[in-house]
Amino acid sequence: MKGWKELEIGALTKAGSADEYNTGSWRAFRPVWIEENCIQCLFCWIYCPDSAITVKDGKRGEFDYMHCKGCGICAMECPGKKGKKAIVMEEEGK
């Protein structure tokens, strides 16, 4: 019988491989970013459960629709500019 040191390492997956998995198909509602109303507060980024808001050099970019499940937290928390939200939810397929 093999000792534990001789056994092959089993069931290892690449760290962070879930990144390759599409959870965007879960979405019933799609968040839409309206850049002109965005004050770059990044609340959407810190409150996103799915790391689905791309940020580069401290500024947000487009949604990562491959991972966004459409929960709507970003739209709820978005303070917007002058009462106008920078994120609105739209029904998918419309």
């Binding site: 069931a11 962070g16 879930a18 998995y21 790391s51 940020v55 990562d64 709507g72 709820m76």
Partner: protein, 317 residues
């Protein structure tokens, strides 16, 4: 090494150590909290994860959402497993085989922390292991279908405390685990929510800095179990703090500080009424339970205020 300031612009330049593509429900509070914890850490960390939603949904074979060394443990022994890892680290460091400073974080839900993993958690804290245990408390066994736990609030409708003709939801108040952990006399204990990201991240940093055990209890919304729309995770945590259902406080070497005092303490019904699990409490026959829920919150809050006053008086502040 310079510390990343707790500003979102700066933090957003750090790598997210929990990736998207995990299978937690849309709008779950737990991954928000986990992302914030990992973003707060400024040193390499090793994570042990008790069985629960977080463990199951972030590591569905052959995928893993974790970019840190991660160990799945059974429901009851995240703290025990991590104690062993930390002890091994200390031994290897002593032998000069590891030079780096590494910290150890355990994540468990309320089921794995308040109930099933409670004895191993208590043991690890008492033995003084240099680990941080973080409980994400969503107030029931959500992973297996919303069974009541000792974290479930009074009156909540769960599948094992079903509100109906026989009982009006859970008959018992929730256990105050944060206080129980403080009674262990460990260097750092705190309570927070992911809605208060700066508070949460400050507390994680303090917990990682202490030499010895630390415990942080994080309120985490579950829209399936709380019966709320998927966009409520942050709003409901804010209400929990504004009503003093979930006060933000910390114990540093036994000394209590309340981190946020609402200017105007909202009635607890403000927190309860947005959630379907408490819907039945608003029927006339259950009015006494709403009253009781308010009394529980008031007592806990007044006790905290009294204790903090005592500390301040002692220090002549």
């Amino acid at each position: 090494m310079s510390t990343t300031p707790l500003r979102l612009k700066e933090l957003s330049k750090k790598e997210d150590l929990l990736t998207g593509g995990h299978r937690m429900c849309a709008g779950c509070g737990a991954p928000i909290a986990i992302r914030q914890v990992l973003l707060a850490a400024e040193m390499p960390v090793v994570v042990a994860n008790a069985t629960g939603c977080l463990e199951v949904s972030t590591t569905i074979y052959p995928y893993s959402a974790w970019k840190v060394p991660w160990i799945h443990t059974a429901f009851e022994n995240a703290a025990a497993t991590l104690s062993g890892v930390e002890a091994m680290y200390r031994a290897l460091k002593k032998k000069g085989k590891i030079k780096e400073r590494i910290k150890f974080i355990a994540f468990g839900g309320d089921g794995g922390t308040y109930d099933i993993g409670f004895q191993s958690l208590s043991g690890a804290m008492e033995r003084g292991h240099d680990i941080v245990y973080i409980c994400y408390d969503n107030g029931a066994y959500m992973n297996t279908g919303i069974q009541r736990s000792s974290a479930t609030p009074l009156g909540a409708n769960t599948t094992t405390s079903p509100a109906g003709k026989v009982i009006p939801g859970k008959l018992q108040p929730r256990k105050n685990l944060t206080k129980i952990m403080a009674a262990h006399g460990i260097p750092y204990v705190a309570q927070t929510t992911p809605a208060h990201w700066r508070d949460l991240m400050t507390k994680v940093r303090k917990a990682l800095e202490v030499d010895g055990p630390a415990f942080i209890n994080v309120l985490s919304s579950c829209n399936r179990g709380w019966r709320t729309p998927t966009d409520r995770a942050i709003e409901d945590c804010k209400l929990a703090v504004e009503t003093c259902f979930w006060p933000l406080y910390e114990y540093e070497n036994g000394k209590l500080t309340i981190n946020q005092k609402p200017k105007e303490k909202k009635p607890v019904v403000e927190f309860l009424k947005t959630q379907g699990r408490f819907k039945h409490l608003f029927s006339p026959e259950n009015e006494h339970l709403l009253k009781k829920a308010q009394e529980l919150v008031d007592k806990e809050w007044e006790d905290l205020l009294r204790e903090e006053r005592m500390w301040k008086a002692e220090e002549g502040e």
